[in-house]
């Protein structure tokens, strides 16, 4: 644009705007927390009290808040788009955050990677991503083997079911979900080898009406213990309780929603991990960029047993828990066939929890009624 075309009025407006921006920028450094406090930012994709995925993280944040010298800032309902970059930048620049927990899967690539490259002094701890050597060193990913807790919940479900039919309301057929369905079924089969798990995929992470429909259809088919892998298990838990069947929970403890029908559940244990990460960060100890663990490492846990869990179920579940806590126990071991009759793990072969093959799971084991496509 030609310089001469700027009118006096525009020039005045422009200078006024620059002046105002400068004045605001001048105020900004007044905002950081008390000197010495480490500011930690938590970003959630949904609501903090959804009885599910986000609540589990928020409980972890609440535990971290209790560590002296830590100040926690949080933001909810941040979509997996550019919006999360703006949130991260505002936490870094306005709140002075030096450690960030963007907790949703879709934040990692490209958003976390982009901001991490831009702010090398800030540490980014992402849940569920796959950190590789190519990614910035100040970014990291952690995740828990929650299928171990699902295996234990499956044992309880298998012992409790009278019809021999379990139900599973799942969002999408991705490896994490399939691994949970399979572990749940394998756990249940230790109690009753003929038991089946009927799966319904709803197609998305949070569709309350469809989840209720799915639960009702399963119950109509004679399913008497149900569980789910969706972001907010509230609908499935409440529907099960209303229809008078049993339920095992997911993500966090939902027993208050269904005190009688809640058997147990597979929970994240971020309350254990986040204070630990926070302390390591403040002490300047290196946190591994790729962090994984299960029951033994305390990243996941099993809900307290409900009143409907029988003696035999308790004992079998406790035994399995002890084996998993001791380490070396493989849930996925051969010979194992999928539900189409194909051999997926050869006889004599066993996949330990850390085996990356399991993070690429694309089959449903024998006993699961459902299909991955």
């Amino acid at each position: 644009m030609a310089f001469t075309r700027i009118s006096r009025r525009h020039l005045l407006q422009g200078t006024a705007a620059i002046g105002a921006a400068g004045a605001i920028a001048g105020l900004l450094p007044g905002r950081p927390a008390f000197a010495g406090d480490v500011v930690v930012g938590f970003i959630y994709v949904g609501s903090r009290d959804d009885y599910g995925y986000n609540q589990a993280h928020a409980q972890g944040a609440a535990a971290l808040k209790k560590v002296p010298g830590v100040k926690v800032v949080e933001e909810e309902n941040v979509p997996e788009t550019d919006a999360v970059e703006k949130t991260m930048e505002s936490m870094i620049n306005l709140d002075g955050a030096t450690l960030l927990f963007p907790t949703s899967f879709g934040y990692y690539n490209p958003h976390v990677l982009k901001i991490a490259a831009k702010d090398p002094k800030v540490r980014f701890e992402h849940c569920g991503g796959l950190w590789t050597e190519k990614d910035p060193k100040n970014a990291a990913s952690y995740f828990g083997y929650i299928d171990e807790a699902q295996y234990v919940a499956g044992i309880v479900a298998g012992h409790t079911s009278k019809t021999g039919k379990l139900g599973f309301v799942a969002a999408k057929p991705i490896p994490q979900v399939l691994r949970n369905i399979n572990a749940y079924t394998l756990g249940a089969q230790t109690a009753n080898p003929k038991i089946t798990t009927q799966v319904i995929f709803t197609g998305d992470w949070s569709m309350p009406v469809k989840e209720a429909e799915a639960a009702n259809s399963l119950i109509d088919q004679g399913v008497d213990v149900i569980t789910c892998h969706v972001d907010g298990p509230k609908t499935v838990v409440e529907t099960a309780a209303r229809r008078g069947i049993m339920v095992t929970g997911y993500h966090c403890d939902q027993s208050v929603l269904a005190p009688k029908a809640y058997l147990t559940g597979a929970e994240w244990n971020w309350e254990g991990l986040y204070p630990k990460f926070g302390k390591m960060f403040m002490a300047g100890e290196p946190i591994p960029n790729f962090y994984r663990g299960g029951l033994k490492e305390g990243l996941v846990k099993v809900s307290a047993y409900g009143p409907a869990v029988g003696e035999a179920a308790r004992k079998a579940a406790d035994d399995a828990k002890a084996k998993l806590m001791a380490g070396g126990f493989a849930i996925f071991k051969g010979p194992m066939t999928d539900n189409k009759g194909k051999m997926v793990i050869a006889s004599g072969q066993a996949h330990g929890q850390t085996d990356p093959v399991l993070e690429r799971m694309d089959y449903l084991v024998e006993g699961v009624v459902g299909s991955t496509s």
């Binding site: 959804d50 319904i200 569709m207 799915a214 009702n216 109509d220 088919q221």
Partner: protein, 314 residues
């Protein structure tokens, strides 16, 4: 509960038709109320796209009032009143000169959703009193059938309301005035009626019904308040009105059809038809497209469309 499980009457393939019918009854009510409300509004010559926001506000308000007072019916009433306020806001803005009703509708939709999330934050955890249902399946010994025949009163009200609206629009003075405003604002003016006042009434009534539809979501099925509760049902219901050619009775059948089609996917998966569930889940939308293609023609405008609607007015 153990008795029901032990009886364990697995329905097998009968579960599919039962699931679809039961799903139609369970899922259709919000569609029904929103589409009946929108039908009234559009027949007066205005489109209110904001009903998605009204639905979510209604769901939140109904849940909150039911939780605080312990009476779900008060919740339903409060949801309706909030809906009417939203309708009045829409009508007030649209009565200003050169204001586009579609743009205002979108603004109110976003406002309603945002406001409901903001106020509704503390309501996610507590459990409110639920609406009762009428048990029409007492004669059956099959638990799934008994459960399918558990019908909510709001659904029954909707069943009565649809033909009542058809009759009212056709045979009453009010209906005639409403239709006049929708077909020709000039004619209504010539008869000495205020078009804006008529449309205010119609939009408020539409908002009232949409609010009640929302309270059904939070107080009966799925029966809890959370932020993804509606997942677009309000907008779908607005589209249903066009699909139903602005006829309340057809709105009823369209809502039933959508409810049933939505239950088709889960019901098929539960009997073991597991291939291609994405396709079955898309059934309602495929159905809409098909009917739209079959019934539309380039040679004429949509039959039944009120002439004053901004989409049909040239």
């Amino acid at each position: 509960m153990a008795v029901a499980a032990a009886a364990g009457t697995a329905l097998g393939w009968w579960g599919v038709p039962l699931g679809v019918v039961a799903g139609a009854v369970r899922v259709s009510t919000p569609f029904l109320f929103v589409s009946l409300g929108e039908c009234l509004t559009e027949r007066s010559g205005r489109i209110n796209l904001g009903l998605e926001g009204t639905l979510v506000m209604g769901a939140m308000t109904g849940y909150g009032v039911s939780y605080l007072t312990g009476s779900p019916w008060l919740g339903v009433l409060a949801a309706g009143l909030v809906g009417a306020v939203f309708g009045a806001t829409h009508a007030a803005f649209c009565s200003l000169p050169r204001v586009n009703d579609i743009a205002i509708g979108i603004a109110l939709m976003l406002f309603g959703i945002g406001l409901a999330f903001y106020i509704g934050k503390p309501l996610i955890e507590p459990q409110a009193a639920m609406l009762p249902s009428i048990n029409l399946g007492w004669w059956s010994s099959v638990p799934p059938l008994r459960d399918a025949l558990r019908v909510n009163v709001l659904f029954l009200i909707g069943v009565v309301l649809a033909p009542a609206l058809v009759w009212g629009l056709k045979n009453t003075r009010w209906g005639l005035i409403l239709r006049t405003a929708g077909e020709s604002a000039d004619a209504a003016l010539a008869l000495g009626y205020s078009v804006n006042l008529i449309r205010l009434g119609a939009t408020m009534a539409g908002g009232f019904l949409a609010g009640i539809g929302g309270s059904f979501l939070s107080l009966y099925y799925p029966g809890s308040w959370n932020e993804r509760l509606s997942s677009g049902q309000g907008i779908t219901a607005v589209a249903l009105v066009i699909f139903a050619r602005w006829d309340p009775m057809l709105c009823f059948w369209a809502s039933i059809l959508f409810g049933g089609a939505g239950a088709f996917g889960p019901a098929l998966q539960s009997v073991g038809v597991t291939e291609g569930y994405y396709l079955f889940n898309a059934a309602p939308y495929i159905l809409t497209l098909l009917i739209m293609i079959i019934t539309c023609s380039p040679r004429r405008t949509l039959t039944g469309a009120p002439a004053e609607l901004s989409i049909t007015r040239s």
